[in-house]
Structure formats: structure tokens, C-alpha cells
């Protein structure tokens, strides 16, 4: 009977929505895999998609074992403790101030750790060895995501210090974006980068992936109020408005620059718009969400146009689409958030202090993400090779790491079974 009185704090409506929202956010990771797979060359389709799938496998387990505890248990300002390690005390009882079971809260947060880990893969596709990525994902999800989630979501110094971040401008967007830059620098450019045109092999995948990401983002932002309250409703609706405005602005920029509106650009704009509203979703009015959508397109569009002219092969522009869009959203709160819409007043409503709180996050989170990821990959690179020989890259990661092709015709393939074992290949000469 004692259990019942504590369980009474659980709200069934809130819990029902959070169960659905958790599933929506999980869908974003295969959607991201599809989006990324369409952007690479056909010989790397499966490997690129598999990096996202691998993030589900690796980050879920690390999150359950220790990541969740580092992010959400008390600990200190910088990192949580071991109170929830191995899911200790993660049960049906809600956390203080919440109306959903702790277990559901854990699962919802797990899907954030997964998608963020998968996002970083965009910087290293088409060249990083799959085994090295698995180890990197395991360590990154704990040491980088776990720490930044503590700062932004958990009882860390930014969260406690009054920085507003509704759904993960700090831990998800800036963390993945600036880590991606570090990863691209350590792993290095693809061997063909800057020498050949490396084009997306299936733009339909890119659009479909972006569409599914947007769909999942309603759970991501709409669930980040941990219920069905007004801030969740606001974030949900803003997730419709902001990306739409961003799309229109992107069309305009495309048309001004190249006289044509591009499909890959549209897919990118959807992501940028969703990212922009992620930190601000529950704190700014719908009108400001539209403004943010139009604004956030500008720096991201500029960086993508600039980046391809550099030697930095941050392949799928995670820094621009996530890092810079998240950065913009975090700062936007400092100007335009309103108490009337669930936030604190920003600079335009007479509260300059809020802008300062946002600036702290916009400086500290990128610095930690970049530095920690750089160091992590340097150490990992000393212990195991991060990439294979050039001829592996020429053949494509699919055949090398997975023994499969995305578009196998089957023609000319000989069935191998126990009665007809594989012939020992006899090379004409040693391929050395």
C-alpha cells in the first residue's frame, strides 16, 4: 500500500506521451542512417548506415551501465556520480518534480545519447574503420555526451546556473557538431577529397531520411517537457514552425546563389531548422520560432558553402547543421525568451543576465566537446588504427568491413554451402 501512495504521483497521460515520444526519438537514428547513407557514395552505403545502427547498440548499453549515472545523478558540477550506475534505483517511482516513472525518463534520455553518438559519425564516414568507430562510440557516449548532458540537462553547472536549454542545444547539437570537427581533423580527409567530385549517391534517401528525422523530432522536442504540459505543447508546435521557416529561407539562399532550389539543400534545411528550435522550443513564442528558423539558416548555409572550399573533410557537415545551428538556438534564447512562454526573459525583455547564461554555454560546451573528442581520438589512434589502407577506401567500406554490398545484383555470385565449400581463391599474382 505504501508503494501505491508514491506511485500516485505518476500521471498516465504524461507517461503515455513519453512512451510514444521515446519511440519517436529512437526512430530518428535509423532515419539519420538513411539520410547519411544517401549522402555518401554507393560503395559506402551500408557502412554509413551501420554506424548509426551501431550507435543504437553501443550507446544504449553504455548509457545503461554508466552514462545515465554520469549525466543525471548528483555528483558535482562537472560530472555525475555512480548513484544510478547499472540502473540502480531506476524504477517506477518518478524523480522529484516529474510525473513519469524514472524508468521511462531513463529510456527517453537513452534515445538522446544514441542519436547524438550517431550524429558524430557523419564526420568520419567513408574512411574510419568500423571496429575503431565502435570503440570510439562507446567511449564518446560516456566521456563526452555523459558529461555535457550533466551540464545541460542534469544537475550540472550550466543547468543549475540558469542556462536555458530545452531539448539539447548543449548536449546533443553543440556536442555532436564540435566533436565532429575534432573527429574530422584527427581521422583526416578521405583520400579522394579535393581531387574528385564526391557526390551523394541517392538524394531520395536524403529527403526521406530528413523527413523521418523531422517526424521523430516532434518526440524529441515535444517530449522534452517530460509530459503534456504547456511547454511540451509549445515545443511541439515550434518544431513544425521553425523548420518550415528555415526551409523557405534556404530556398531563397539557394535561389540567390545558384538560381535553383536544391533537394539536398532542402533536406539540410529541415535538419538545421529542427536543430535551431531544439534548445529554444519550450521558451520562445511561435512567432519567434518562425524568426529563428529564418535566422538559423544564414550561418549554417554560409559555413557549408565555406567548408567545402577548405581541406577539412568534415564530410556530412555535422558542425554546420548541428553545432552552429545549436549554437544559434542557444544564443537566440538569450535575446528572445519570455517568461510568458515558459522561459526566462531574454535581453529584449529586459534581462541581460539570461544572455550571459546562454553565452557561457555557447562557449563552454563547444570547447569541451572539441577538446575531449580530439584527445579521445588521439589516444584511441595510438592504440588502434582509425583507418585502413588506401586500397580499402578505394574498394569501399561495405565490402571491406561488412562483406556485403548495398546494391548487390547476385549475378555471377556462386552459392557457398557445406556441400560446395568456397573454393580457395588462386590469385594469378599476390595482390600484396
Amino acid at each position: 500500500m505504501e508503494a501505491l501512495t508514491t506511485l500516485a504521483k505518476v500521471d498516465t497521460g504524461d507517461t503515455a506521451w513519453m512512451l510514444a515520444a521515446t519511440a519517436l526519438v529512437l526512430l530518428m537514428t535509423p532515419a539519420l542512417g538513411l539520410f547519411y547513407a544517401g549522402l555518401v557514395r554507393s560503395k559506402n552505403t551500408l557502412n554509413t548506415f551501420m554506424m548509426s545502427i551501431a550507435a543504437i547498440a553501443v550507446a544504449t548499453v553504455t548509457w545503461a551501465l554508466i552514462g545515465y549515472s554520469f549525466a543525471f545523478s548528483e555528483g558535482n558540477d562537472i560530472i555525475g556520480g555512480f548513484d544510478y550506475a547499472f540502473l540502480k534505483d531506476v524504477n517506477f517511482e518518478p524523480l522529484p518534480g516529474q510525473t513519469i516513472p524514472h524508468l521511462v525518463f531513463f529510456a527517453f534520455q537513452a534515445t538522446f545519447c544514441i542519436i547524438t553518438t550517431a550524429l558524430v559519425s557523419g564526420a568520419v564516414v567513408e574512411r574510419m574503420r568500423f571496429p575503431a568507430f565502435l570503440v570510439f562510440a562507446a567511449l564518446w557516449s560516456v566521456l563526452v555526451y555523459g558529461v555535457l548532458a550533466h551540464w545541460g540537462f542534469g544537475p550540472g553547472w550550466l543547468f543549475n546556473g540558469g542556462t536555458l536549454d530545452f531539448a539539447g542545444g548543449i548536449a546533443v547539437e553543440m556536442a555532436s557538431g564540435f566533436s565532429a570537427l575534432a573527429a574530422a581533423l584527427v581521422v583526416g580527409a578521405r583520400k579522394d577529397y579535393g581531387r574528385q567530385a564526391l557526390l551523394p549517391h541517392n538524394t531520395v534517401y536524403v529527403l526521406l531520411g530528413a523527413g523521418l528525422l523531422w517526424f521523430g523530432w516532434f518526440g524529441f522536442n515535444g517530449g522534452s517537457g517530460f509530459g503534456t504540459g504547456t511547454n511540451s505543447q509549445l515545443a511541439f508546435t515550434n518544431t513544425l514552425l521553425c523548420p518550415a521557416a528555415c526551409l523557405l529561407m534556404w530556398f531563397l539562399l539557394d535561389a540567390l546563389r545558384g538560381r535553383r532550389v536544391t533537394a539536398v539543400g532542402a533536406a539540410t534545411a529541415i535538419i538545421v531548422g529542427c536543430v535551431g528550435i531544439t534548445p529554444a522550443g519550450g521558451f520562445v513564442s511561435p512567432g519567434y520560432a518562425l524568426l529563428l528558423g529564418a535566422l538559423v539558416a544564414l550561418p549554417c548555409y554560409g559555413l557549408i558553402a565555406y567548408r567545402t572550399r577548405t581541406r577539412v573533410d568534415e564530410t556530412l557537415d555535422v558542425l554546420a547543421a548541428h553545432g552552429i545551428a545549436g549554437f544559434t538556438g542557444i544564443l537566440f534564447i538569450g535575446f528572445f525568451a519570455q517568461v510568458d512562454w515558459g522561459g526566462a526573459d531574454g535581453l529584449f525583455y529586459g534581462n541581460a543576465e539570461q544572455l550571459w547564461d546562454q553565452v557561457k554555454a555557447a562557449v563552454a560546451a563547444p570547447a569541451y566537446a572539441f577538446g575531449a573528442t580530439y584527445l579521445l581520438l588521439r589516444v584511441l589512434g595510438a592504440l588502434m588504427p582509425l583507418r585502413g589502407p588506401e586500397r580499402d577506401e578505394a574498394q569501399g567500406m561495405d565490402v571491406i568491413h561488412h562483406g556485403e554490398e548495398a546494391y548487390a545484383s547476385g549475378e555471377g555470385a556462386i552459392l557457398v554451402s557445406e556441400s560446395t565449400p568456397a573454393k580457395t581463391p588462386v590469385p594469378v599474382a599476390d595482390p600484396g
Binding site: 579522394d192 581531387r195 574528385q196 586500397r391 578505394a394 574498394q395 565490402v399 562483406g403 556485403e404 554490398e405 548487390a408 547476385g410 549475378e411 555471377g412 555470385a413 556462386i414 552459392l415 557457398v416 554451402s417 568456397a422 573454393k423 581463391p425 590469385p427 594469378v428 599474382a429 599476390d430 595482390p431 600484396g432
Partner: protein, 118 residues
């Protein structure tokens, strides 16, 4: 007048095109083919179905050239396509009986000489 056929690695396509361009060879056709040569077979597995694939993706260049251009074309295909490992491909040179440019009806030497070159 010869037809030069070059079969090269797909990832060397750009290098071959560049070498041909430098050699001022301009009339070319290109197609994706699958072939088997000295390379090792690769084994692939699709949910319990294991197969041995002996065919590799290659690019096939076809270049019809006048006699003066035969050697530069061969050199360009070899230089552009070479990695030094098994599987770099082959060049075949076959005699060409006739060539006709459809637009003008020019034949032979005139037909295989690019417009603008004399």
C-alpha cells in the same frame, strides 16, 4: 585507325579521363562492366546465404583513334589506371574497318578526328 579498349578500376576513372584529356584524346565512350581477372574472389554473406563473388566492377573505355593517336591513348590508359596491384585492368587494341560520323556522313579519318581539331 584503331579501336582502343581500356578496362580499368572504377576508382581510377577520373585519373584516366584526366590523362586522356592531357593527351588530347577527346572522343570516348565509357561504360560500367563486371569482369573477372586475377583478383581474389570475395566472399559475402547475406543472412546465412554465403556467396563467392568472382566478378569485380570495372570501367570500360572505348576510344576510336587515328594511327597517330594509338600510342598516346594507350599510354594515357596505362598511366591513369595503374595502381601497381592486381586488378588494374587491360588495354586491347583492335583494327577498325570503318567509322562514320552520323551528323555529316564523314568517314574514317575524318570521322574519328574531333570537331575543331585538324
Amino acid at each position: 585507325m584503331k579501336l582502343v579498349i581500356g578496362i580499368v578500376r572504377p576508382e581510377k576513372t577520373n585519373d584516366v579521363l584526366e590523362a586522356l584529356y592531357r593527351a588530347e584524346v577527346r572522343g570516348i565512350s565509357m561504360s560500367r562492366v563486371q569482369g573477372h581477372g586475377g583478383e581474389l574472389d570475395r566472399v559475402e554473406t547475406y543472412r546465412g546465404t554465403t556467396v563467392q563473388v568472382g566478378l569485380s566492377e570495372k570501367m570500360r573505355f572505348e576510344v576510336a583513334v587515328s594511327d597517330d593517336f594509338v600510342q598516346p591513348t594507350i599510354d594515357a590508359l596505362c598511366d591513369g589506371g595503374r595502381t601497381g596491384q592486381v586488378g588494374d585492368g587491360k588495354v586491347f587494341v583492335v583494327p577498325l574497318e570503318r567509322a562514320v560520323r552520323i551528323r555529316t556522313g564523314e568517314t574514317d579519318q575524318g570521322a574519328v578526328t574531333p570537331v575543331g581539331a585538324s
